[in-house]
């Protein structure tokens, strides 16, 4: 039985620039089941953060549908959407800029509760804040601290507590650990995992770090220049990557284990900006196994194996 919490259909976001339309997110579709984690991986500028923000309409999508818990969010007015946001929360990348420097820990965590009128009365709110602080592992004595007095890991815990305070169903984690040191990174990842087990949360985990996403996600979607190029269950994707870009990406991870030796696929060139794209494969310029079809039209995302989707002309005839 599949219990789908979020369905994104043909989501597009084009930004107007002086040189033409920038295709930040181009026709992305996916679904997430309740309680699962979808990892979105890609390099900077591939549209992964924009996708996350479009889902909760922090950025208005150009077109496409976002169906959350049976409701079509794209049809809601700004006012209705503000109420709905409670169920979708976001954890930001930079713990240094995602907290208002003038708010204490108490104020920062209490703010969403007060805003959404979940609990009334100072004492009751404070009690809830303390509960949340305990959940995310913040000592009680920090309740009146300001963000600048705390380190990155603790700030990120405040960000998590803030997101949890409204009891959301879906949390979008936008690079939640990439600004943190390794030992702190592991603390936060474990915390997020525990919270998922305990509260049945659903995550969208946006990151550029493949080893983190592998550890954390049930499904992984790989994005390149606004397009989803491959999507598969994590194990399948790592065991059997199909898209040339995914293969290169996987082989590029430096592995901290001397026993682990692998052939590295070095890509030529760099990710270009997705402005005024011609109708051809976006990866073609960097691809190490292009075929004649690549110039023709953009490949479509096809299910090559059960639950394994690839968008590459090499797999055109292999639809499952």
């Amino acid at each position: 039985m599949s219990d789908i919490l979020l369905e994104v259909r043909n989501l597009k976001k084009y930004f107007k620039t002086s040189r033409g339309a920038l295709h930040a997110v181009d026709d992305v579709s996916f679904t997430i089941e309740r309680g699962k984690t979808l990892g979105i991986v890609g390099e900077s500028g591939c549209g992964k953060s924009t996708t996350g923000r479009c889902i909760m309409r922090l950025i208005e999508p150009t077109s496409g549908q976002v169906i959350f818990d049976g409701k079509d969010l794209s049809k809601l007015s700004a006012r209705q959407m503000r109420k709905e946001r409670k169920d979708i929360q976001i954890i930001f990348q930079d713990p240094f800029s995602s907290l208002d420097p003038r708010q204490t820990v108490l104020q920062a965590i209490a703010e969403p509760i007060i805003q959404n009128k979940l609990i009334k009365g100072t004492a009751a709110i404070e009690k809830r804040v303390l509960e949340l602080m305990e959940t995310v592992g913040l000592a009680e004595r920090l309740i009146n601290s300001y963000p600048h007095e705390l380190d990155g890991g603790r700030r990120q815990r405040i960000g998590i507590a803030r997101a949890l305070s409204v009891e959301p169903k879906l949390i979008i984690c936008d690079e939640p650990v990439s600004a943190l040191d390794v030992s702190i990174q592991a603390q936060i990842l474990n915390l997020l995992e525990d919270l998922q087990d305990k509260l049945g949360l659903t995550y969208i985990f946006i990151t550029h770090d493949l080893s983190v996403v592998n550890h954390f996600s049930d499904d992984i979607a790989v994005m390149y220049l606004g397009k989803m190029v491959e999507k598969a269950p994590a194990e399948e994707l790592f065991a059997n990557p199909m898209h040339p870009y995914t293969k290169a990406l996987l082989s590029a991870i430096p592995v901290p284990d001397l026993r682990y030796k692998q052939e590295r696929i070095l890509l030529k060139g760099e990710i270009t900006s997705p402005v005024n794209l011609p109708d051809q494969c976006r990866f073609k310029k960097r691809c190490y196994m292009p075929c004649e079809k690549c110039d023709g039209c953009e490949p479509k995302l096809v299910e090559v194996r059960p639950n394994h989707f690839v968008s590459c002309h090499l797999f055109d005839g292999q639809q499952n």
Partner: protein, 335 residues
């Protein structure tokens, strides 16, 4: 060991940052040496003192607030810490070069990249502008950028390309030692792979030594011959790549490895190091890692751990090893 091959000897280096009302002990009694043509990886978390150590090698500690309290840095037998500004400018770039983390800000936006490479060549070699520019073009080719692009400005280059230009500047005068401070942290994975590959090839080609500063153990595994793990301003473990990765001894080194997601076993739970880095203005008398250490003895925090040697160059600073038969949980990896 052959004295001839020694390139760099850092001895008892201690650097403090003396602020208005507190003193940050950034580097505490750090000693290590580096042979010609070898690569040393300096690993550690934010604030471990990696960058300060590197800056001290170049005699570039900002003063004030930085004060070199003690120690010597000998580059080919000469103590760079005693050199004046003029001598240093000859050494920097010619004998030692440094690559910084952020390629976006280490290039001057108002000069062409060719001019910037040529400038460094002209400081150290007796060549005229034209010749220097020709050499600059050749250097660009070396780092994989077409020579014609020497006439372009930094903003016309992407992040990875800029870092290549920075490398070209650093290598323009064939330095003996290259210090790379998180050279790929600001880059994407596929670009990082390109840049690391380039650095490895160039190192082999020119036979220079390198100190690679990073927090990424994966990069260390691929690039380095020797590793020094830093924590709270000290080297807490040092050895060959194989010794550190397969026979780690210090509890902190173990903790670092355990914190990383295991690529082979994705469901394995991470084992983070509990707690936080100590405040560098209030370091304990003894072992700075003791408050986070699962093996800590009651007196660890009061007694400064000494170097415990395990043969060869491998040593760690951990008092627990004074006890017969002590070992950490992480098992040695036999190859």
């Amino acid at each position: 060991m052959d004295e001839e091959k020694r390139l760099l000897v850092v001895d008892h280096l201690t650097v403090n940052y003396e602020l208005e009302d507190e003193t940050v002990e950034a580097v505490r009694d750090v000693s290590f040496s580096l042979d010609k043509g070898k690569t040393l990886g300096l690993v550690g978390e934010t604030g471990a003192g990696k960058t300060t150590t590197a800056l001290a090698i170049l005699n570039l500690i900002p003063d004030p607030p930085g004060v070199i309290k003690n120690g010597t840095v000998e580059l080919e037998g000469q103590n760079v810490l005693e050199k004046g500004a003029k001598d240093m400018s000859h050494i920097r770039g010619k004998d030692v070069s440094m690559i910084f983390q952020d390629p976006m800000t280490s290039l001057n936006p108002v000069f062409t990249v060719g001019d910037q490479i040529a400038e460094s060549i002209m400081i150290h070699e007796k060549v005229d502008k034209k010749e220097a520019f020709e050499k600059a073009k050749r250097m660009l080719e070396v780092v994989g950028i077409p020579g014609e692009r020497a006439y372009e400005y930094p903003h016309q280059f992407s992040g990875g390309m800029k870092q290549r230009v920075v490398i070209a500047i650093a290598l323009a005068c064939n330095p003996q030692l290259l210090i790379a401070d998180e050279p790929t942290t600001a880059l994407d994975v596929t670009i990082q792979a390109q840049v690391l590959d380039l650095m490895r090839n160039l190192k082999r080609k020119y036979g220079m030594a390198m100190i690679l500063i990073t927090h990424d153990l994966g990069i260390i595994a691929e690039t380095c011959d020797d590793v020094a793990v830093m924590y709270a301003g000290q080297i807490i473990e040092r050895g060959t790549l194989e010794e550190i990765f397969n026979h780690a001894r210090h509890p902190y080194t173990e903790g670092l490895f355990n914190s990383l997601p295991n690529i082979a076993d994705r469901k394995e739970r991470l084992k983070p190091i509990p707690g936080l880095m100590p405040d560098p203005t209030k370091l304990p008398k003894g072992c700075a890692f003791a408050p986070r250490c699962p093996y800590a003895r009651p007196d660890c925090i009061d007694v400064m751990p000494e170097e415990i040697h395990f043969g060869g160059t491998h040593y760690c600073r951990c008092s627990a090893y004074r006890e017969e038969g002590f070992h950490i949980e992480r098992e040695d990896i036999e190859v």
